[in-house]
Symmetry: C2
Subunit: 316 residues, 2 copies
């Protein structure tokens, strides 16, 4: 099914132009019409153009009438332009059928949009790193992207890693008990943990109660991840969630003086701090195999033994 895909750059400058071009060609080869924003390859310092340029690109994406507005890449740059974004215009575009897709730095945009308008956007791929890979793009990512653009998507499933936290999740669970539970009609939200924690205390953090929070990050040591989670914890954000789901945390280095302090330590510590279910292994993050997740949409989380599902009805 031929779709209109709009490519734009709201964050860091595109440095890997070969990946950018490959990504465009791959989407074209799938039969799509790819429209490239006039500033998609702009550069200003480390940014894809100065603040006004990137804001204009976002607003052109909203005005494009495309089926999908896809970021070229993440990086850094959205935080400082959050006050300048016309969120109503973006929400209006989404209401008319344009799906905003991206991750990483884009989390700031997605959560601010949710806070300001309640509009749903998609945590998902970026053009270069996901469609522009030298090898073929990841099958699961492509299938989920296809689900989105054809309106067929109804959720995603994954296998929970074996861990104490996953098997005895929840304060009421008994050690060794088989986990089986559903959480219904809970707002799914989250994304990159560093971006999420950087919004705490600002008008750009949505106030989600009874939600399902998913998180991922790249290049952050577990002690930094724990500090970010501590901010969410002490700000009262985590106490209001029904579940916290760890996605993929990649590309960090443990050091000898960690002496056993590692990511599972942080996960177990967190489970001791909150009543919400804490799950791991969600295939989303700075890794090739990633599902697409509707930020701001009500979903059902269903878990039985080591099988977990996030289910939603495609509402757009």
């Amino acid at each position: 099914m031929k779709k209109h895909i709009y490519i734009y750059s709201p964050s860091s400058a595109v440095r890997d132009k070969a990946s950018f071009k490959r990504g465009v060609k791959r989407l074209q080869a799938l039969g799509h019409e790819v429209e490239i924003d006039e500033a998609a390859l702009a550069t200003h310092q480390r940014f894809a153009g100065d603040d006004e340029t990137r804001l204009a690109a976002i607003h052109r994406a909203a005005a494009s009438g495309a089926d999908v507005a896809l970021i070229s890449r993440g990086g850094y740059g959205l935080s400082r332009i959050l006050p300048g974004i016309n969120y109503k215009a973006v929400a209006k575009a989404i209401g008319k059928g344009t799906e905003f897709v991206g991750l990483s730095d884009f989390t700031a945009f997605q959560l601010a949009l949710l806070a300001k308008t309640g509009a749903v956007s998609w945590a998902g791929p970026a053009l270069g790193e996901d469609f522009g890979t030298e090898a073929a793009p990841d099958d699961i990512m492509e299938a989920c992207f296809d689900d989105l653009i054809t309106g067929q998507g109804e959720g995603c499933g994954w296998q929970l890693p074996k861990s104490a936290t996953n098997s005895v999740a929840g304060s009421a669970a008994t050690a060794g008990a088989t986990a089986k539970f559903n959480i219904k009609d809970a707002v799914l939200w989250g994304g990159n943990l560093a971006m999420l924690s950087s919004l705490v205390g600002t008008p750009y953090l949505p106030a989600i109660k009874g939600g399902i929070l998913f998180i991922e990050d790249v290049g952050e040591h577990p002690f930094r991840l724990e500090r970010m989670l501590t901010q969410l914890l002490h700000a009262g954000v985590l106490a209001q969630q029904k579940a916290v789901i760890f996605g993929q945390f990649s590309n960090y280095k443990l050091v000898p003086h960690d002496k056993g302090f590692k990511l599972p330590t942080v996960v177990a510590w967190l489970q001791g701090q909150i009543k919400a279910r804490v799950l791991t292994g969600l295939p989303f993050g700075h890794v090739p195999t990633k599902v697409l997740l509707p930020i701001g949409q009500k979903v059902t989380l269903a878990v039985e033994d080591r099988d977990a599902f996030l289910l939603w009805s495609h509402q757009h």
Copy 2:
């Protein structure tokens, strides 16, 4: 003047025991009685003992009756134990003459203490890195520490680096105009920027209006520093300050694709965002030459040309 100095470890485990020992000997050689907390060299994972151990160490320091409670080192570990600290006991100890001194991770303790009780503590050295150096400790640091323990300190001065921001600081300033201004009776606060921003939105960030905020950090790229400042900006913290003073930002690496984005870029950007005076060059941070600064005390900031002074009366 012989003083009683209590050494304890509220954050990361002491790894460099040679520096620890040298630091103790240096303080003893200055004539002081050095008391070492029973858990000062404890280890649990990357921490100086588990959470209960480190909390007990803080409370022993408060009960020690020492003239100075000095951290062995920073690192990481205070964030997660903030809810367990008996702030009233610490404030009571300070009221009886115990000065709490430290930096880096310790910023979380200092700001939480200020938020909960209004008690003043000192941004200053750590035992190992400042007194336990292989070479002689820094003269200025030692002189400022001596000022503190003898009750002689009345402030500190430094020379503002030549920069557009320093010379035309403040929204009312004219380009090229000679800077001369005083800010009186403003609460001095701040410390490590990563720790400060990690407290935004939590009960541990003091609500300081009309204050003078000083910041420093180590190993953080300017884009990360800008993201932290953006959080403070969007949370409304910076709009309430009369001045923001950059201390030392050390040990970060610029990369080719920064393309001119560097720390002065961030400073200039910040000055464009707020009306407060933005100054740089304060000798405080993860560097040998550091002054001691009373967090939570009313001070006067006096600037004339390139000379800046922070002045206070020693109240304890």
